[in-house]
Symmetry: none
Subunit: 417 residues, 2 copies
């Protein structure tokens, strides 16, 4: 179907906040076989909201409206919709009761009124009756309009869990067959990946291959369309196989996979416990590892050793090693990994020590120099990388390189791409 | 003046590319005193381009159109504009000559014809006569329309170097004076902040106050416009003072300030060294602290102690304390903070232990229960928070609450908001 996406908020039209929700919605709606006729971003202005809604109802088969559903006084989507569509707001006591129950302790303590969230335009139905967030739909002039929160993670959850499926039911037919897959790649630059896949481009008009740098990863998308399920599936399988072969072990996962989840699953499968000793990444690798639910099953803990003193006292790095080789060196990285393993009793320990910048570099060890070491029963190895970029880029690249090293060790791959 | 931004490209409406150019333009136009009535993103479709242009000419004083100016077959902005505004394209030999000279290396190699770039709608004038890129403007129905490339850095260059100044000249007057400030708030929900500031809203049409949850922070924006510098400055100073007073110590910074930077500056100013002992935040606080350049001046390091064993061995938490009170308890948090301080010799140590979920909760200690402890010469205190949300939200809220506790300790404020 033809859809229109309308994002509402002064923070968007004044250029303070980048609108990522419309982009997210467009990508998923497109993948579900819909075409987006327009993505409109407007301020918190009732007249412009009304005008945009009417226009969407003329040129599209459905509309997604995001933002302006909150409880504060500048949230005026519901009133504007009520006026524009001549659907006076009505009170939903059940919604208020649930929101009050689920509202954060902060809100309750602060004595804040959330009643506004329970006044919806006539004919509105909740999208998800157990959700702790705003979000409803209504059908006007025979066309469904979905109203979603502007907060990205809430909007994304409701879109994926309710809107896509309701639209499929609404369309009442098998949507245009689209197969889409994202290959997630780490450790290779976009241009090198492009070179590996260029021979596959332009061979078939039903196939699109895209490259999206999401630093320090690169995501490669494959889109295949077809008029029949069988046609699209066969074509998709061919390209999927060819791309997978070309990317090889640089591809760590697909679609929504995260590197830290892939590493976590491998650790769990192999019954391997992990410890970390981080200097220049400052806890960034540990934070990624522990962002995964259930990571306490395989992650024991780690040390963030920023000072040399702590490298000695906590990890037992010999003062002589630090004096002779410096904190950023093969010897120190190996001693840190050994120390972390001894300290925690983990099966595998990763150590990282480097110069994230902006200061601390030297001609021999410029900013971006990072030593990694892995220590385990089957491995004791150190590697040096030289990452480009400013502080956060060096730190981010080092976090991903470290995680990828653990993945490669567990899969028996060469430890460095 | 009132402006509209129209971005053209199938890559945008299919959700393959995030539209950052409209965001860039909106921010700079807003800062120059203009108001954006709508940002419209549409595909490479002549009918929709025509409709969007006509609409912009009705509701705005000027329009910025980006994308679709290239030399390939899917670039059809010029033809669509020519049809929509009844301005047949005319050939500009001087433009072609310059583009051919400047584009020789890539276009000649690729055997690409760039002639298309020299056919512009009647009445079009180049934006920059020495530019190696497309970009022109024309005046229709007495309103200026600017056509810019979709490539972000080209569009940004032309916008900053030509569009902003031409619009100021067009307006024929000193641009409207705009003062903008963002107050960054942590530890209070959006609705409570709204309650504190509601009395300031709607008092003056020249003043806009906005609320933006950027979890777990809230950003409050103040925008003041005036026709003279003195008028706007005086009004801004009044509101700035009133909002600051209302937000009190919940406001940790302004505009681009980050909480970890504010905490870092305070530690540096006071010559106070910091250590961390993290359980449920898993290194997330350390990662934030060390994301700040120069953090090695005040951050010594820390321990990520996920297992009980490591809490005992690394931080010296007594097995009896863990057995009697559990890992998530006041006694354990205090012992962790003491241990981290002893281990590192830091002036101040923060410990965090809690249940991030999704598993691990109990009726007495549900998911979201987090104990914090601060240990230093002048303080030994523990606090319990109960955060709502899923794992990443609990972790993120705990990171910010922990950082804010350090800020409050260093400023002599109550440790809990």
């Amino acid at each position: 179907m033809l859809g229109e996406i309308i994002a509402i908020g002064d923070e968007l039209t004044s250029g303070r906040i980048l609108n990522t929700t419309s982009y997210f919605a467009a990508g998923h709606l497109f993948a579900a076989g819909h075409e987006i006729v327009a993505m409109t971003t407007i301020g918190d202005n009732a007249a412009v909201i009304a005008e945009s809604l009417h226009r969407a109802l003329v040129r599209a088969d459905f509309a997604i409206v995001t933002g302006g559903l909150g409880a504060t006084s500048d949230d005026l989507t519901n009133e504007a919709v009520a006026d524009a569509l001549d659907r006076p707001t009505t009170f939903h006591p059940d919604i208020l009761r649930r929101i009050e129950e689920q509202a954060s302790d902060w809100a309750a303590q602060a004595g804040v009124s959330v009643e506004k969230l329970a006044w919806l335009p006539e004919g509105a139905h909740e999208l998800k009756s157990d959700a702790n967030m705003a979000g409803y739909f209504l059908v006007h002039d025979g066309k469904p309009i979905f109203f979603l929160p502007g907060v990205p993670h809430e909007m994304e959850e409701l879109l994926l869990e309710t809107v896509i499926t309701r639209l499929a039911v609404w369309a009442g037919q098998e949507p245009r067959t689209v197969h889409q897959k994202v290959f997630r790649v780490v450790g290779v630059p976009e241009t090198a990946i492009n070179g590996r896949l260029r021979h596959l481009e332009g061979r078939d008009s039903r196939v699109t291959i895209g490259y999206y740098p999401v630093l320090p990863e690169v995501h490669v998308s494959l889109n295949v369309t077809g008029t029949s399920v069988a046609e699209a599936a066969a074509l998709f399988a061919d390209y999927d196989r060819e791309i997978s072969a070309s990317l090889g072990d640089h591809c760590y996962g697909e679609d929504g996979d995260l590197l830290e989840e892939v590493v976590g699953s491998l650790l769990r499968e192999r019954g391997c416990s992990l410890a970390l000793a981080e200097s220049c990444t400052g806890g960034g690798i540990a934070a990624k590892v522990t962002s995964v639910a259930g990571s306490s099953d395989y992650f024991l803990g780690g040390a963030v050793v920023y000072s040399n003193d702590l490298k000695e006292r906590l990890l037992g790095v010999e003062p002589g090693v630090l004096a002779a080789h410096g904190a950023v060196s093969e010897a120190t990285a190996l001693a840190m990994a050994d120390g972390a393993r001894r300290l925690t009793g983990a099966d595998l320990a990763l150590a990282v020590t480097g110069i994230a910048g902006p200061s601390g570099g030297s001609p021999e060890k410029p900013v971006g120099t990072v030593w990694f070491a892995l220590a385990g029963d089957e491995v004791t190895r150190a590697f040096c990388f030289r990452f480009s970029g400013v502080r956060w880029q060096v730190q981010s690249k080092a976090c991903y390189a470290g995680l990828d090293m653990i993945r490669r060790q567990l899969l028996g791959l060469p430890l460095v791409p």
